[in-house]
């Protein structure tokens, strides 16, 4: 929609009279007779292939032309996973026996090891024990004792699958890597199960409580805008209305009415109004976006609540599909749209800092892709393919907007040196004075390739990521700075995609070096004199799933930064997952 969207505002002409008179649309849909309509039953999707695997060499050196549906490793992985899931759920000995090869061997599920206690949380890390033969009955008993298993195949090598296992029950939590070897038949039978490593955690007492309902249910649109997912709206709101099923909509915290309580501004998809929730004295939150003049319907990605004019109240910046919109808090319960910057189409995360140390806040905007047309449905990587996949430089152009006072902003990206490496697929950015020289530096997480660390030298920037070891060539989604090891330096956590399918495929031989990291997951960098060391694997934080917001927070007040990750790409109506 970028090319065809007409702004009522132009950035320099900050006219407020040009706003179209909003037409009030009836909030209440006419009460409809809600009878389920007849529709053909959805057929279950066949998962198991009947193609016999016997005799097929599984060396994965297939010609590229066959790389669509004929990946033997993928087919095998689906079959093996289905068998393993059946075993995990097996109710009796007979069922288990049918899934095991004669002479089945299994390592002991754990070797006794030391327990490490962190603030009343007991952690035991170890490997499996000795390999033994085991009766199917005992096997399923031992598996059931772990809890309900969630299994993902993260690697395939010949007839062995590497499986990530998660289980939780009551006060305990289990995660492990199992190596499962299979017979060469269809469906395959389990020949050997070896626990490569495991982690068991026990903790007592409750920690987080879900109070969403109590906090929000009194708002009239609770059902429509809180309980209903984007998947429901993307079947009902058109692309002309800018509703995309990917659901990239963020949240900002700030005290907008100066009552000392934090409030939130919540972005939403095209044709769904953004929301402003004011916290009440009792901790509930009241939705007031219309009253405050910010129930905007433009597809909105992210927002910031910051004081742009240093007058003591929180102003609002929203990255919408049409423009980066700037609204002034007038101090009497209303935001006034002061203008917008249309030169950042398809924006994602925003981050503010005073890069030139002139006393006011400047805004950095990530722009993901270069060519988008929301009406045809082509957005992001459908509109233009990231090329090459692991080091793409055909993404959007990020923009640094300098605050010129009185809600005027200027694009200074080029002048300050930030147009270096500025055609990547950027999802997120965060400022931090990592070299502690008094001015903020900026880390930018890019999908499909290298990240940037723009070091600020008196208002001019140099991309120093290669030099300090922080490029993290992967699928970057999120940035968080924090001192996780308490040495005083700012360390860095980069949220990345962990995809089990990606893991399986990226390690096969036809993929060249340099791509294996693409689906590895999160990266934890520890800073040492301004140089970053990759601490991801030994710290155990890579598997955050398909991670989006991922960041440091000390959630148990022990002074040490923990990590929280919000993940998951697209959950849809069908159970099978890509």
């Amino acid at each position: 929609m970028r090319l065809t969207r007409h702004l009522l505002f132009l950035f320099s002409a900050l006219s407020t009279t040009a706003i179209a008179e909003p037409i009030v649309v009836d909030d209440e849909l006419v009460k409809l007779r809600l009878k389920e309509m007849a529709r053909p039953d959805r057929l279950p999707v066949p998962v198991e292939s009947k193609t016999p695997l016997t005799g097929v060499p599984l060396n994965f050196n297939l010609p590229v032309a066959e790389a669509s549906d004929s990946w033997l490793g993928e087919k095998f992985s689906i079959l093996a996973l289905s068998q393993l899931n059946r075993l995990a759920k097996a109710q009796n000995e007979e069922e288990a026996t049918s899934l095991l090869a004669p002479g089945f061997l299994c390592s002991e599920f754990e070797t006794p090891g030391p327990i490490h206690t962190v603030h009343s949380v007991a952690v035991r890390v170890g490997t499996g024990g000795k390999v033994r033969s085991i009766s199917p009955k005992i096997l399923i008993e031992e598996i059931h004792a772990l809890g309900e298993l969630k299994l993902k195949v993260i690697g395939v090598e010949n007839l062995t699958t590497r499986v990530h296992v998660e289980a939780n029950r009551g006060d305990g939590e289990y995660s492990a890597t199992w190596l499962c070897s299979w017979t060469d038949e269809s469906p395959p039978k389990l020949q050997r199960l070896e626990v490569a490593n495991f982690e068991k955690i026990r903790a007592e007492g409750s920690w987080f409580q879900d109070v969403t309902k109590a906090a929000l249910e009194k708002n009239p649109r609770f059902e429509a805008q809180v309980l209903r997912g984007i998947g429901s709206w993307s079947q009902r709101i058109t692309r002309i209305g800018d509703l995309a099923m990917t659901g990239h909509h963020g949240i900002a915290v700030g005290d907008v009415n100066g009552d000392g309580l934090e409030d939130i501004y919540v972005c939403d998809g095209g044709s769904l109004p953004n929301q402003l929730y004011l916290q009440q004295a009792d901790g509930t939150a009241k939705e007031v976006a219309s009253k405050w003049g910010v129930a905007w319907l433009e597809d909105s990605r992210s927002a910031l609540l910051v004081d742009l004019d240093n007058d003591g109240d929180q102003d609002l910046v929203v990255a919408t599909i049409a423009m980066i919109a700037f609204a002034e808090n007038n101090g009497t319960g209303k935001f006034e749209l002061r203008g917008g910057f249309p030169g950042a189409p398809y924006p994602f995360s925003l981050s503010a800092a005073d890069f030139d140390s002139d006393g006011d806040l400047d805004i950095y905007t990530c722009v993901y892709s270069a060519d988008d047309d929301s009406v045809s449905g082509k957005r992001g990587f459908e509109a233009s393919s990231p090329t090459p996949f692991n080091d793409a430089e055909n993404g959007g152009r990020n923009v640094l907007l300098a605050n010129l006072s009185d809600f005027k902003f200027g694009d200074v990206t080029k002048q300050v040196g930030m147009d270096q490496n500025n055609t990547r697929w950027s999802f997120a950015a965060s400022w931090e004075d990592f070299d502690r020289d008094g001015d903020p530096d900026l880390y930018v997480a890019n999908d499909f390739g290298r990240n940037c660390l723009y070091r600020n030298d008196d208002g001019k920037f140099v991309n120093s990521a290669p030099e300090v070891g922080a490029e993290d060539m992967a699928a970057g989604m999120s940035v968080s700075w924090g001192d996780f090891n308490r040495d005083g330096e700012a360390d860095l956590f980069v949220g990345n995609m962990f995809s089990s399918a990606g893991q399986r495929v990226a390690f096969q031989r036809k993929f060249s070096d340099g791509k294996t990291r693409m689906a590895r997951g999160n990266t934890l960098f520890s800073a040492n004199d301004g140089v970053f060391q990759d601490h991801s694997l030994e710290s155990g934080v890579t598997n955050g799933g398909w991670a989006w917001s991922s960041g440091f927070a000390d959630l148990n007040n022990d002074g040490w930064q923990d990590l929280v990750v919000a993940n998951g790409y697209l959950t849809n109506t069908r159970d099978d997952d890509l």
């Binding site: 649309v25 963020g250 240093n310 399918a501 998951g568």
Partner: protein
């Protein structure tokens, strides 16, 4: 394959992937959100379930904030799938914390960029935090800095490096935690008033299910594809603009809500005609070709004494209607009946009704939409009130994008 073919093949891969998702597949879906506990020895331990932070909806944004000001960090999740918001309140029995809000005077007022280190009375590991506005993904967390104190008491001083580089030492943190305001140039921390305890009830929250029933007002007059059908006299006809507004209804002789719909239209025939609206009801019973059993359609028409034109739609035309929806929506549900589309006299679609719909609603929509201009349609379409600050697409652009296909 030539290099350009390879690139095209690669590009098609992306499109195909999204096509699978549009057809209902998941792509790294139903993943549990994660929480990793810092084990202090360079290792983190995943304990998402024990912490109560393992919800499976598709997460996107995450804001970290001590919402209830009890000295523990709470979390607001912003999700793609429902529930799209979750407020997770931290109830862990924890050591106290120090919360600090900075106010710049020569620096920016929010003190974004300031770095604060708490200084204990005796040697300890560093405790450093900085003020940020916008990090993680699409998110902004609280500007209050949070310092968990662990087993250590006695943090009484804070060293602040203001944006721009000026350093200032603040006294007056009381040693056992609390909330403090540090104003640039004062060197003195001010304790903030304590808030009344917040009690919010815990309650499990489920996403609302997707209803197949939908009333969709389109944001523009969208050119509708030309269709062919057999009319009630079994004559081949073309559905094209004929200068009359129509409600096109797709139905089946074997579906009970279709029967209800046809009965409802029959009993409201006068009202519908008075509103200058015609109905064309096309049964899908003939889609299977000549071999299909079309008697249920005839039977239902006879039983309801349906007074409007009707006929049988062919497979290709039904498919065109599905394709029309696929072009409009990022995600189109499987075709089903009853399905109704309100067409203006120039054969442009104004609304789509999936499932049963009352005549009153249709007439009300027709009343509102028949003379609506582009701006009005733009404002009528959203399912909830709000404001646009952008103009709608012009009709010309809509025509270009949705050229009626033969």
């Amino acid at each position: 394959m030539s290099p350009s073919e390879k690139i095209n093949d690669y590009a098609r891969g992306w499109t195909d992937l999204m096509k699978l998702v549009r057809n209902g597949h998941s792509w790294s879906g139903s993943e549990r959100n994660r929480f990793f506990l810092n084990g202090r020895k360079g290792r983190f331990h995943e304990m998402s379930h024990l912490a109560g932070l393992d919800h499976i909806e598709d997460g996107r944004g995450l804001a970290i904030v001590d919402w209830d000001q009890d000295g523990r960090l709470d979390l607001w999740y912003r999700n793609r799938s429902g529930p799209r918001l979750r407020l997770m309140l931290n109830q862990r029995k924890s050591p106290p914390s120090v919360s600090i809000k900075l106010e710049g005077t020569s620096s920016n007022r929010d003190a974004i960029g300031a770095v604060v280190e708490l200084l204990p009375s005796q040697g300890d590991k560093h405790l450093v935090r900085s003020v940020k506005a916008g990090d993680l993904f699409l998110s902004q967390s609280s500007k209050w800095l949070h310092f968990g104190m662990g087993n250590r008491q006695g943090y009484r001083q804070a060293k602040v490096t203001w944006p721009g580089g000026g350093k200032e030492l603040f006294e007056g943190l009381n040693g056992d935690g609390g909330r403090f305001l540090l104003k640039q140039g004062t060197g003195k921390a001010t304790a903030m008033k304590k808030r009344k305890t917040v009690t919010l009830k815990q309650h499990p929250l489920e996403a609302a299910g997707t209803k197949s029933q939908a009333r969709i007002i389109l944001p523009a007059r969208v050119p509708f594809p030309l269709l062919t059908f057999r009319d009630q006299a079994a004559k081949q006809q073309l559905l094209a603009a004929n200068g009359k507004a129509r409600l096109l209804v797709l139905w089946s002789g074997t579906c009970s809500s279709c029967k209800d719909s046809l009965e409802e239209f029959t009993s409201n025939a006068d009202k519908i005609r008075a509103a200058n609206l015609e109905i064309l009801a096309l049964a899908i019973n003939g889609i299977g070709g000549p071999a299909a059993d079309i008697s249920p359609a005839y039977n239902l028409i006879d039983r309801t004494k349906f007074p409007f034109p009707w006929g049988l739609i062919d497979a290709e035309s039904a498919n065109r209607i599905h394709k029309f929806q696929e072009k409009l929506f990022d995600h189109t549900p499987p075709s089903s009946v009853p399905l109704a589309i309100l067409l203006d006299p120039n054969n442009r679609a104004l609304t789509i009704y999936r499932g049963e719909i009352s005549t009153a609603t249709i007439l009300q929509d027709w009343q509102a939409l028949q003379n609506a201009n582009a701006t009005q349609l733009h404002h009528f379409a959203p399912p909830m009130s709000g404001t646009w600050f952008t103009n709608p697409l012009s009709q010309g652009e809509v025509e270009r994008l949705f050229k009626a296909s033969k």
